[in-house]
Subunit: 350 residues, 2 copies
C-alpha cells in the first residue's frame, strides 16, 4: 500500500480533492479517517472535507494543516431520485463538493454516496467534454495479476455504438495514465469472440473500435473476464452493471460456502489454520479495496465514485485514484484525443 | 440421481428422443454411452441415435431394444455459420435429428453440438409457436438449494420488450412443468431493483410483465442471482450469455486458486484431506451437469441444447430434461398460454 500511495506523490503540483464526507453506508465515521490518512501521507495535496462540520469534527477534532472543512448541511438519501435531489438539496455534500470543482476551488471530487446523484452532479455541474455525448462509469476489476478496466457499469443505460467506442477511448487513457499500462488492449464484451456475433449495437461498435486507432483486440466473452486478454473491456451500462454485481454476489456466495466449511467442526477449523496463508493469498487477489473507486469518464473534471460500503482503507485508495486522475489530467487527455478524430459533416467526430 | 430419473419415468406415454450423436467436444464417445444409460433406465422411452453408424457402433456394438440408429453422414464443425450450414449439410446429424421431430418420428431432439446450428435447426425446421416472434434459450442456473431458470442466454440478440415478456411466460411454464415449481416467481434482470431503473427495453418489459398475469416479483440485480429471489430470471441474450459465461469463468477462477493452495505443499494437502467432505458439498452445489441442458423455448417441439463439454453423465440428464419437457408438452402449454392473451388490433397478443 505504501509503495502505491508513495508514487502518486511524485508529481509536483499538489492536488485539491473535495471529499463528500457524508455519503456512503458508514458516513463520516469511515470517510473522514480515510481522507485524513491520505492527507497525512500526501502533505503536498489538499483535502477538503465537505459536510456537516459538527459530524466531521466529532470524528476528527484536530485536522492536519492540509485538510479543511467546507460546510454542507443536507444529506442525499439512498432512495432519492438522482437528478431531482440535486435541485431539491443545493446544500447537500455531493452538490457542494462538486461545485468546489466547478468553481476551480478543487481539482477532483470523491464520493461514496448515492451513485446516481454523484453521476448526475458530475455530469450537470461539471459538464461533458466536447465530443462526449454521455459519460461512462469505469471500474477496476479483479483478476489474477493486474486489474482491468470495465466501462460502462451504469452511467448510460441506453448507449449507442458510438458511446461504446468513446468508452474504449476514455478507458484506454485512464488505463494508460492512471494504471500505468502501456498501449492498453481494448476489447468489447460480446456473446462470442467472432466479430459478427452479438446484437446490432455490438456489431456496429466492433466496426467503430476497429477503425478507432486504439489497440482494439476484438471481442471477448463473459468467461474471458477473469483472463488476461484485455486491459479495457467495453460494455453497455446494463451488462456492465450486471457483471460487477454478479461478481460481488457470486464471489461472496462461494466464499460464504467455504467459510461455513472452515467453521464447521474441528476438521474445518484445523484445515483453516493449515490453509490460512493460502486463504490470505486468495483474499489478496480479491482485494477490490485497492481499486479505490470508479472514475466517471467524459466529464470535464475528475469525479471518483467509490463503493457505498467503502471503509477507511478503501477511501484512502479512492483519494489516491482521484489524485492520479487529476494529476495526469485524464479529462484533458480525453478531450485532446477526441479533438484529434476526423470530423464528419455534422461537426461531430466520425 | 436415480430418484430424479425415476420420477420422470412415471408418465405413461413413452417419449421418443432423437439424439445428435456426433456433436459436442467429445462426440459419440460420451454421447452414445450417456444416451444408452438413459435408455436402460427408461425402458418405456425410445432413443434414436443420429449420426455416422460406424462411429456409433464403434462405441456401442450392441444396442438395447429401445435404441435405434438413424444415419447422418455429415458433421457440423464449431466454426461454421449456423443457418448456412443447415443448407450446406442436409445430411448432418443435427439436421437429420431435427427432421425426425418435424416428421413426427421423434418427440424431442437433444444436441451437444454447435449451439447456433441447434437453435437455427429448431427454429427453421420445427417453426415458432403462434404468438412467438423469437425463441429463447433457457438454462437452469446453480444456486444454493434449487436452481433457477435464466432466459435468454443467446437465442435472440436484439430482443424487444415484448420478447422479454414472452420469455417470462415461457420460462414460467418450463419451471412449473419440468422443474416442478408451483407458481414460479418471475423477475427481470436489471441495474437496480426499482422499477424505473435499467434501459428503455427493461423499463417497458417491466410494464409488460407487470400486466402479464404471471407471478412477476419485479427486477433483480446481478448480485441477487445467487439468492433465492426468483425462479425465472428474464434477460436479453447478450446479458444472459455474459452471465452464464462469466459464471463459468469466475467460479473456475476461484476454484483454481483454491486447488493451487490445496496442492501447494504438505499443509495444503493435509488441509484438503480434512476439508474433503466440505469440498464435496461445495462441488455438489456447483454440479451444473444435473441441469442436463437448455430448452429452446418458443419452437413447436422440444429442443434441448446441452453443453459442448457435456460428458456421459450430463447427457443422461439432458435426455431426462428432453423427456420431461416433451411429456409435459411444454410447447403446447406455451401455445395455450399465448392464445389466452387478449388480442390487440394487429392480431397479435397484447
Amino acid at each position: 500500500m505504501s509503495d502505491r500511495l508513495a508514487d502518486s506523490a511524485t508529481g509536483t503540483a499538489g492536488i485539491r480533492i473535495a471529499v463528500d464526507a457524508m455519503g456512503g453506508d458508514h458516513g463520516p465515521g469511515e470517510i473522514v479517517p480515510g481522507a485524513l490518512d491520505y492527507a497525512r501521507q500526501h502533505p503536498a495535496d489538499q483535502v477538503i472535507l465537505v459536510g456537516r462540520p459538527d459530524a466531521i469534527l466529532a470524528v476528527a477534532p484536530t485536522l492536519p494543516t492540509n485538510v479543511s472543512v467546507v460546510s454542507a448541511m443536507q444529506v442525499v438519501e439512498m432512495e432519492e431520485h438522482p437528478a431531482r435531489t440535486l435541485v431539491r438539496k443545493p446544500d447537500s455534500s455531493i452538490v457542494v463538493a462538486t461545485h468546489l470543482v466547478r468553481d476551480g476551488k478543487a481539482d477532483a471530487v470523491v464520493t461514496a454516496g448515492h451513485t446516481g446523484a454523484g453521476m448526475a452532479a458530475g455530469t450537470l455541474f461539471l459538464g461533458l467534454l466536447p465530443g462526449v455525448d454521455r459519460p461512462g462509469l469505469a471500474v477496476q476489476m479483479v483478476r489474477k495479476g493486474s486489474p482491468f478496466v470495465l466501462i460502462d457499469i451504469g452511467a448510460n443505460p441506453d448507449s449507442t455504438p458510438e458511446h461504446l467506442a468513446t468508452y474504449g477511448r476514455m478507458g484506454s487513457i485512464f488505463a494508460e495514465r492512471v494504471l500505468g499500462i502501456t498501449n492498453p488492449r481494448v476489447a468489447l464484451l460480446s456473446i462470442g469472440e467472432e466479430k459478427g456475433k452479438g446484437d446490432k449495437r455490438i456489431q456496429r461498435a466492433t466496426e467503430l473500435l476497429d477503425q478507432s486507432g486504439l489497440n482494439f483486440v476484438g471481442n471477448v466473452e463473459g468467461k474471458d473476464l477473469t483472463n488476461d486478454l484485455a486491459d479495457v473491456v467495453v460494455t453497455d451500462a446494463v451488462a456492465g452493471n450486471i457483471v460487477i454485481k454478479f461478481f460481488e454476489g457470486l464471489s461472496s456466495f462461494i466464499f460464504d460456502l467455504l467459510r461455513a466449511e472452515f467453521r464447521g467442526g474441528i476438521r474445518g477449523k484445523l484445515a483453516y489454520l493449515l490453509l490460512k496463508p493460502g486463504v490470505n493469498r486468495i483474499r489478496k487477489v480479491f482485494d477490490y479495496e485497492t481499486a479505490g473507486g470508479s472514475p466517471l469518464l467524459g466529464v470535464k473534471r475528475t469525479v471518483i465514485i467509490t463503493h457505498g460500503r467503502a471503509r477507511r482503507r478503501m477511501i484512502v485508495y479512492a483519494l489516491d485514484v482521484a489524485a492520479r486522475t487529476a494529476r495526469a489530467d485524464v479529462p484533458g487527455l480525453i478531450a485532446e484525443s477526441l479533438r484529434a478524430l476526423p470530423v464528419v459533416e455534422d461537426g461531430r467526430p466520425a
